[in-house]
Point group: C2
DNA sequence: GATTTTTTACTCGGATAAATAATGTCCGAGTGGAGTTGG
DNA sequence: CCAACTCCACTCGGACATTATTTATCCGAGTAAAAAATC
């Protein structure tokens, strides 16, 4: 019952990427600097987010990462599952069958009650995470966060985001 | 996001101990045999349950483990926390402070919104586990489990439980 | 001066070590019962 | 025959290796921009 350290980094980075405008991108090195993380290691987690279609990556000198869809459609569950894996935390090893006396498979057609209870709790966990959208995180931070920290974050994003020329950058 | 393998063993053993009568005990070696587990390793988890006041241990030739309180008052949450530790799965490292620009502590009096969202989800998880009592697990197994497996389990408990003489064994 | 080509610097991506936690095993302290011996 | 003592086998408890997972790092493939050469 312990989440990897990369989950926190992934969510913070996703929240920061929610602040970039249009289809601009932000380099992983910039985000690593913003949170005092190892650039090489952060790449690994960001790569997992790309593989899960949560982020998009752009190579090249002006490349970086950007959200693959609006922040309203990204939940914390998406990020957690992408980083930690989609399989449930409780894995039923069916140890009830490992006893000295063994029955045929017909005795175990009913699922293990313990497994059912654990999975039910985990569904509640995931449902709560699915409700928490990335846009809510950002909005709460903008509303209740410290003004100084907020201004610094916005300035940081403004300074490090790199516009892309491929699509329309919507700048007048 | 992965629970240790010992959680499953701990819950199964607790459910089996719920079937012993009065203040009788059952040796760890018997439970290890019942589930095909390593006896030495199972001891470790059972010891954690004793330390958490969920089980009671009796030393000596006729010793073993028994529930420290009725199964109605033991929840799956108690067992999971005893085995996996009480600290939350998501540990906020406060990486928001590790950026290049640092403010004084007054900028971080508000808790991290990401941490709050993760802890909220975990509270839902724990609430669901707290609702699941050990007696419910046993009752469901008795009602819906396979009759053969149920009979074998009861016979196993009847064969391996060891009455204690210290208190009244309530046998006429 | 404009265009094409080449170079270059910067990005992500995956393969590779070190550190940490989980897993599995072993031996020792303690205890109640059985066997033995003396009364 | 009964009681006390001794011995012993069985229990849990914690300390010690082994394996798996997580964490951290490095180097290579690819790419778009910039610089240089040519028309």
């Amino acid at each position: 019952m312990k989440l990897g350290e990369g989950v926190e980094a992934a969510i913070h980075c996703a929240a920061m990427l929610a602040g970039v405008e249009g289809n601009s991108t932000m380099a992983a090195s910039a985000m690593a600097e913003a949170f005092g993380l190892s650039p090489s290691y952060l790449l690994k987690h960001l790569n997992m987010l790309s593989a899960a279609r949560i982020l998009e990556s752009v190579s090249g000198p002006a490349g970086g990462y950007r959200l693959a869809r609006p922040a309203e459609r990204i939940s914390l569950l998406d990020i957690v599952l992408a980083v930690e894996g989609r399989e449930p935390a409780f894995r039923c090893g069916e140890i009830r069958r490992n006893g000295p006396v063994t029955f045929d498979a017909s005795a175990y057609v009913k699922p293990c009650g313990i497994n059912a209870a654990m999975l039910k709790a985990e569904r509640a966990y995931r449902a709560a995470l699915a409700e928490a959208k990335l846009s809510d995180i950002v909005a709460t931070y903008a509303a209740e966060g410290d003004p100084r920290s907020l201004a610094a974050s916005c300035a940081f994003v403004e300074r490090h985001q790199r516009p892309q020329k491929s699509s329309s950058t919507k700048q007048a």
